[in-house]
Amino acid sequence: MELPNLTLIKEISGNDIEFENSILDIIKLEFPEEVAIFKTNFEQKKYVEASNNVHKIKHKISLLGLKNGLETASAFELQLKQEKLELYPNFIEILDKIHVYLYN
């Protein structure tokens, strides 16, 4: 199973711990807000807005090394624009995985 990891963040930061921590801090700060906005838009069936929210969350998914997760999110982003919702459970699963990784 694919799990969040710091490989890419370490690569970007060039093993600069301070930089690495500042990236993680800002992800921790932004992630719950972005997820909450996405869920609200999704529940209100504002799928285009929800698609834009997914686009923004995608960056964090890729930063945390979830390659498959990124593919799912990209596909879901496109689906939402067409008001198709099949990948919603898969996307929520990715969000939950990240939540557990960041806050536990």
């Binding site: 690569e11 970007i12 060039g14 500042s22 990236i23 834009n52 923004k56 960056h59 964090k60 890729s62």
Partner: protein, 232 residues
């Protein structure tokens, strides 16, 4: 090089900013969450480079570029791999970075910027703007007033420079003399003729009358010639 960063994602802004700081080549003046705020800023400040996210709510990166009359160099940063073709339609776009931006890719982008700056600094060959040209006639350099030239005709290895006073047969090519003449007055209407536009008397079909000379105009050059004329 002074830059600004525009991205609605704080994580992306932080990464771009840190990569800039580490480069020592890029000085980040400001960062913006919204492209509209950045436009307001650009009305008051001069910058060399923008790191610009494409996908932003209400006002996208492409909207931003289209709004600016004279945009600075732009490096697009995006999570979307599929917009590169559209991105490079904009002349100001010098690179396209897919997020998350790695240090290696960021540095490559800096190298690209460097090579662009170097090529821009290379001096371009300036056209001679003198009113005179010296031509070699019978081993003598003869001064010819450029405004007095009304027609130049290629004849084998020679050109015939016609002025109001006299004609000069010179061992040269149309290309060489064309480079010495002001382009606002002189125009190559045919592979064998350069004319002084100011001396045109009339144009009929694919010929122009210059003084008493009737000169052919090639079909491919006619529309450009017409654009140069002060038509009613």
């Amino acid at each position: 090089m002074n830059c600004i960063i525009i991205d609605d994602d704080a994580t992306a802004r932080l990464i771009t900013k840190q990569l800039c700081l580490k480069s020592e080549q890029i000085n980040v003046l400001e960062e913006f969450e919204s492209a509209i705020d950045a436009i307001k800023y650009l009305n008051t400040a001069s910058i060399d480079l923008v790191y610009l996210d494409i996908h932003m709510p209400t006002f996208s990166g492409f909207d931003f570029i289209e709004t600016l009359k004279d945009p600075p160099k732009i490096i697009l940063t995006t999570s979307d791999k599929n917009l590169a073709l559209e991105a490079f339609e904009y002349k100001s776009v010098v690179d396209y970075l897919v997020k998350p931006i790695t240090k290696e890719r960021f540095n490559k982008s800096l190298e690209k910027l460097d090579s662009l700056s170097t090529s821009e600094k290379k001096p371009t060959k300036q056209k001679n703007t003198s009113d005179f040209i010296y031509v070699n006639v019978d081993r003598r350099l003869v001064k010819v007033s450029i405004p007095s030239i009304y027609l130049i005709e290629a004849k084998g290895d020679y050109i015939n420079i016609k002025t109001e006073e006299k004609n000069y047969i010179v061992h040269s090519t149309l290309k060489k003399i064309e480079d010495k003449l002001p382009s606002d007055s002189f125009f190559k209407v045919h592979r064998s003729f350069i004319i002084n536009i100011k001396e045109i008397i009339d144009i009929e079909d694919n010929t122009v009358l210059i003084k008493k000379d009737v000169v052919p105009v090639s079909r491919s050059n006619k529309s450009e010639l017409m654009q140069k004329l002060n038509l009613l």
